[in-house]
Symmetry: C2
Subunit: 190 residues, 2 copies
């Protein structure tokens, strides 16, 4: 059993919390008023929007040392919905890994809309969580948590592949905003 | 009815040729021995691997002037399968558009494995062709050809979105090579 901390209690945080609990793992969910409560999980999921990451690090970087830290963000320019705000050859996950050298950073859950995490379905297709990271043990541990909770987990490669995962997340968001796909759908992996 | 030229008679060229013909449009398929035969289609699909594009342009750039030109390539480093060979902030399609200023360049069919073009199915999901481009009429014309042939066509945005389409294509190829998805599957849009 793994104890999982989820920072951020929005749609994604809540949906992931249900998945974790369903798999028989324990979960603590932090909302924005829990700033002074330290995280106690061995796996910490940062379920906040990309612009809020720096504040989380300012508040909690020391608490994340040694832990598996999961970045789920899509670093879009949310005003234009027409570009990412991270360097073209980088990713939000790579930035996070640089800021947390003593954590094992994973990218996951950025290509799954909240409704598809909650339902376990992308349309008629079982929801797959793509996981990228450089620490094989951390990836396997997180994949186990995801699959115990009823979703499919697929190893998407090293952390540098977060660049492609964030491109998928970005494209999928533009398709949803443009009403080309529903928020209950998107890219299903089959 | 549109007359479509497809340069490249590999798996993708053949599969796309069948789609075009099925939709009641006419198609001419060029293989590598047809170098001296000029293209006559109003829409020209470059169904060759990325490294072969420059030779096609050397042979035929003047023939492509004024036409809709469709780039289906995934510009991977095929030795390492670990990176793209185009600039991080660019795409193969953007390069092509720069080299063909008098053509209307579209990106399409780079996120669909040949088997899914041929069968019309990504696993159990109908195959969707994502189309990016800056010329709305060209996009609509090509979407019409694709949908007449029995596949779904979705407007993925301006040609700059080819960067994300190529990231999807790259990621999908790494997942297939890593046996995480079958060549009859991949990302289905639902």
């Amino acid at each position: 059993m793994t104890h999982v901390s989820i920072i951020g209690s929005g749609n994604m945080g809540q949906a992931i919390s249900s998945v974790v609990a369903r798999g028989g793992n324990t979960v603590e969910l932090f909302n924005s008023t829990d700033k002074d409560k330290p995280v106690t999980g061995d796996v910490v999921i940062l379920a906040v929007p990309y612009p809020a990451i720096d504040q989380v690090l300012a508040d909690r970087a020391d608490q994340l040392s040694g832990k598996v830290v999961v970045d789920i963000t899509n670093p879009l320019n949310f005003e234009t919905f027409d570009s990412l705000v991270v360097p073209a050859d980088g990713s939000a996950a790579a930035e996070l890994a640089e800021k947390l050298p003593d954590s094992k950073v994973l990218k996951a859950f950025n290509t799954t809309f909240a409704a598809t995490v909650a339902s376990g379905q992308v349309g008629e297709v079982p929801t797959t969580v793509l996981i990228a990271g450089d620490d094989a043990d951390a990836k396997a541990q997180f994949a186990g948590i995801v699959s115990a909770g009823g979703l499919k987990a697929v190893d998407a490669g090293p952390l540098k592949r977060a660049r492609e995962l964030e491109a998928v997340g970005f494209l999928q968001l533009t398709l949803a905003v443009g009403e080309k796909v529903a928020w209950t759908g998107g890219f299903g992996l089959v």
